[in-house]
Amino acid sequence: MPDLSECRERDDVPTYYERPLLKAPHWEWNVVTYLFLGGIMGGLGLIQLIAHPERPQERRLKRTVRITSFILAAGNPAILITHLGRPERFLNMLRIVKIKSPMSLGVWGLVLYSGAAGANVVRELAIDGVLPRWMRLLAPGFLAPLQALLGAFTAGYTGVLLSATANPFWGSGKRHIPAASVCSGLASASALASLLSTFEGNHAVVHKLERLEMVAGAAELLILNDFKRAAGAYGAPFFKGKRGERLLTYTVVAGTLAPLALNLIGQAVKLPKPIDAVRTTLASALTLVGGYVLRESLIEAGKESARDPRAAFRQPR
């Protein structure tokens, strides 16, 4: 048998008829939405902790954020279930706890978060007098930091869920995708909280929330910028071409830089209340769109990366 392997140029990586090695993820809008809402939910977990209970406006923010986070935690599993090939078997995820599976840990994180958030909502309603006052005892003090901790986990694990796979693009962001997920989650959570506070007329807390949104947004941009450098050729499906332009337009410019500018104006200039409300609404909506497009781009770039056999042959380290 002749040996022809030496006749080829050494640098030329052969492929099998340019066919993909890997299988692309089956994940669609429902998983994108799940990751997006999971990030917001996690970020709200932090905000409900840091809002000061002694100040009436922040007390009110705490209450709003707790109720919103519980609604998200209760609704998000429904979206997760729709993506399953066998939705009626969702509960099989609760058969076991598997430390090595981010999908398993994430579901448990979500369940525990719902529990903590639910108890904190009961506490709020008991304080309000909607529920009997003794029911405050159902939510001891440690549940607030616990919800924040579980929130940080649910915002971060969605990044690990993607980066700890065999997908070359996702794998190239093993640090950046989880960190960016946390930042994007908190930026979106702050945006949603300032939106809700504006609607409630609780204007006093909006500037603080917007400062938090700016910090998280700026951190997200720095991480994405470093991700582009570190990912190199593996990052092409995400940073280059049509998807790269979309990411730049919706997540970077419209979703982070524009709200950053709007929020800076809000901090520097004292605008009349109705105009300020429009400004906050616009900035928040843009941040939320940017957060959604970030998750969508991550998933879609993962699909394209899976189709590239050369990237899959030599995985990023």
């Binding site: 080829r8 066998r86 058969r95 940080a152 640090r175 899976a306």
Partner: protein, 282 residues
């Protein structure tokens, strides 16, 4: 005791008996009529319902004497049943187990089709099984006479929506039989048996080939790197792994988790601190 496959590609004649035997025994549905124009390969890849796939590579080149040399490489690909399997670690329901024969096995009645194993396999083996399609349009069988369409869903199709891959013929092994593909292979290119024995045989085969002037290498008989360890289905190749659509540097996905969780924790801690400072101010 762990059993596995040793696929010696120098013995493969491309008859696809393994593909057919696998489909027959496991009642796997047709892939439909697709003509790829890629040598004799119209199967193209492993999938949720294709558990053996014969790759065909035709190579031609002018050698140093100016003579045209050509050769065909044929190789029957299969699930590697990795020592550390990405799909096994990723599965959140515990549907994927390692069975008493050392094989990685998906329990179809437990799997809920989350698809996380699909993106966690470094070899692109696992996929979700399509739901049963009585019209046959999905399988591109519309051109067939209707009498030849499947009248009923097979067991595998009934479990549509869940993940599927080679079981190393768990049912046959329990009965003491050799897996269908190895049984059907007419040249013993696919050998089934105890892994220690197979590895010994494989190393001896590489040496014998080397004496005859054929340079061959084993893929997966020993650690393939990246944390995956050795493969319970390994191969003897005469060209680079990529030629057969096998990765040269695969990585076990879970090895990326510590860096990921740490990065997320650092980001969360930093932002929590910033948030606390923002809200502490009056």
């Amino acid at each position: 005791m762990a059993n596995g496959f040793f696929t010696d590609t120098t013995l493969c004649i491309g008859c696809k008996a393994c593909e057919v035997a696998c489909k027959q025994w496991n009642e796997l549905p047709s892939d439909g009529f697709v003509f790829t124009g890629e040598s004799y390969d119209n199967t193209s890849e492993l999938s949720g319902t294709t558990w053996r796939h014969v790759a065909f590579v035709e190579q031609m080149a002018i050698d140093h004497q100016g003579e045209l040399q050509d050769r065909w490489l044929m190789s029957s690909d299969v699930c590697k049943h990795c020592t550390n399997a990405g799909c096994h670690e990723a599965c959140p329901t515990g549907a994927i187990i390692r069975n008493e024969f050392g094989a990685v096995f998906i329990q179809p009645d437990v799997c809920n089709g989350c698809g996380y194993c699909v993106v966690s396999c470094p070899f692109g083996v696992v996929d979700l099984i399509e739901k049963f399609d009585p019209d046959g349009t999905h399988y591109n069988l519309a051109s067939l006479a209707t009498s030849r369409l499947d009248a009923r869903a097979t067991a595998v199709q009934q479990s549509g929506g869940v993940a599927g891959k080679c079981t190393l013929c768990y049912d046959r092994q329990r009965l003491g039989f050799v897996p269908a593909c190895a049984k059907a292979c007419p040249t013993e290119s696919i050998q089934f048996g105890d892994l220690d024995e197979l590895r010994e045989r494989a190393h001896a085969r590489v040496e014998r080939l080397s004496e005859r002037g054929v340079s061959a290498q084993l893929y997966g008989a020993d650690d393939v790197g990246g944390g995956i360890g050795a493969l319970n289905a390994f191969f003897l190749l005469t060209d680079r792994p990529e030629t057969y659509n096998l990765p040269a540097q695969p990585v076990l996905p879970s090895t990326r988790q510590p860096a990921g969780y740490t990065a997320a924790a650092v980001a969360a801690l930093g932002l929590a601190l910033a948030g606390w400072m923002i809200f502490r101010n009056a």
